[in-house]
């Protein structure tokens, strides 16, 4: 495979502020085949991972993005003069529920956590970690929630499939269906 292609893709990844996927890169490089682009991405990923640098090319949110290694976080935060991403336990629990049970109604989230979810949902919507995917054809047409692309990006997930597996509840719940 021509090294030039790898360099071009590397340049795009270097400049981009969001994960790029093979399909997207292919639209900018129409003369190349999609599989060449995919292979180049994998090559670059392997190269950076074996280089032992402070950053690697990571597969995240169905794309690739250069990301720093976590051990340098404190220095970067010092430079950026910002506080790190922080999510409350309530927010994390709500996200956990939405990510596994989506599309999901607020009522169902509240049933699972046993508390009102209004405030947390608003915060998560503001942070673009969840989105409204529609309305259910029920009285009051309640909103249906789901997670976003940004959710995958923030939590270093390739896709929803790569979420940690739910532990089964086998015990004493003949009617609690497993999804």
């Amino acid at each position: 495979m021509p090294d030039e292609l790898k360099s071009i893709i590397e340049a795009l990844l270097f400049t981009s502020d969001r994960p790029l996927n093979a399909g997207e890169i292919h639209t900018w490089l129409p003369d190349e085949t999609l599989s060449d682009v995919s292979n180049a991405l994998k090559d670059i990923e392997n190269e950076y991972n074996s280089m032992g640098r402070s950053f690697v090319l990571k597969e995240v949110a169905l794309g690739y993005q250069f990301r720093t290694q976590s051990r340098y976080a404190s220095y970067i935060l010092r430079m950026l003069k910002t506080s790190p991403t922080r999510l409350s336990r309530a927010a994390l629990e709500t996200l956990a529920i939405i990510s596994y049970k989506q599309p999901i109604l607020r009522q169902e989230i509240e049933r699972l956590r046993g508390v009102d979810a209004g405030g947390i949902l608003r915060t998560l919507l503001e942070k673009s970690l969840i989105r409204i995917v529609g309305r259910k054809a029920l009285p009051g047409r309640p909103l249906i929630y789901g997670t976003t692309q940004k959710f995958l990006e923030v939590f270093d997930l390739t896709d929803l499939e790569s979420l940690p597996k739910l532990k089964e509840i086998k015990v004493l719940s003949p009617d609690s269906e497993e999804t």
């Binding site: 270097f14 400049t15 981009s16 502020d17 996927n21 990571k58 169905l62 993005q65 250069f66 990301r67 720093t68 290694q69 976590s70 976080a73 970067i76 950026l80 910002t82 790190p84 991403t85 922080r86 999510l87 336990r89 309530a90 994390l92 629990e93 996200l95 956990a96 529920i97 990510s99 596994y100 049933r111 699972l112 956590r113 046993g114 508390v115 009102d116 989105r131 409204i132 995917v133 529609g134 309305r135 259910k136 909103l143 249906i144 976003t148 692309q149 990006e153 923030v154 939590f155 270093d156 997930l157 979420l163 940690p164 739910l166 532990k167 509840i169 015990v171 004493l172 719940s173 609690s176």
Partner: protein
């Protein structure tokens, strides 16, 4: 003493959380909860909250009543007809507790991941470069009133040129919303005025506007002004997989 309680109480996210805390504290089996002990302790916490003048959410009280109810059912003698299949009344809290624990574990796992802008960092485009990129418009929030003003303006402009016709038209907001989404998905972000370029009658204008409001409401379209003077921008909120159309079907 009191300060201890304050700290403790604040960390409870809800009744299930408090219940789990009590179960761990007493080191009891979740499948064999000593309901009398746990209920008493639970009620003590609620009392404490009252003493501390904390606002007790209705959720806490609902759980309290559930616990007391289970406790009373446990006190009743076995059913007279000796029905052995009768469910343990405690299942009413065991089941939601187990389910809650699952998601609490997941939340824990999520927070241990390499979180962007906490553990790992990616390149970001500096704001001055962003300004030059045409699709990265700086945003000013648009209120409903501004939208209505913009719409009034269009109605005003158009009403002179629109012929009065009396055909019966059937524009449904839902269909129009799909149409608007289709246009936005195809052409990308556009100005408010552009959207109304093709509408021929006043009723169609109105339905298009209503459809737009609905789309904004459900979050499929974002509206903002690039600058204070400019026309309102409409941006479709579509995920990479272009699921907007599907969403609308649920809508």
């Amino acid at each position: 003493m009191k300060t201890d309680y304050e700290v403790n109480l604040e960390i409870f996210e809800g009744p299930l959380d408090l219940l789990l805390h009590l179960i761990y504290k007493n080191e009891v089996d979740i499948f064999d909860i000593p309901i009398a002990t746990i209920t008493d302790q639970y009620l003590e916490y609620i009392d404490m909250m009252e003493v501390l003048n904390m606002e007790i959410a209705g959720d806490f009280l609902l759980m309290a009543s559930t616990l007391v109810h289970i406790k009373s059912r446990m006190l009743l003698p076995e059913s007279i007809d000796g029905d052995e299949d009768e469910e343990d009344p405690r299942i009413e809290i065991t089941r939601p507790l187990l389910e809650y624990m699952r998601f609490r574990d997941i939340a824990e796992e999520l927070s241990e991941r390499e979180i962007l802008n906490r553990d790992v960092f990616a390149r970001s485009v500096p704001p001055y470069v962003k300004d030059q990129m045409e699709d990265q418009e700086s945003e000013l929030d648009v209120t409903l009133f501004q939208l209505m003003d913009a719409f009034k303006h269009i109605m005003h402009q158009r009403s002179a040129s629109i012929q009065l016709r009396f055909n019966i038209e059937k524009w449904s907001v839902k269909d129009k919303a799909k149409g608007v989404m289709a246009i936005l998905s195809e052409k990308g972000p556009m100005f408010f005025g552009e959207l109304f370029g093709h509408e021929k009658t006043i009723s169609e204008l109105i339905v298009t506007f209503l459809a737009l409001l609905e789309l904004i409401h459900v979050g499929l379209v974002k509206v903002f002004q690039p600058t204070y003077e400019s026309d309102i921008r409409l941006v479709p909120c579509i995920d990479n997989n272009g699921s907007a159309a599907d969403n609308l079907n649920n809508a």
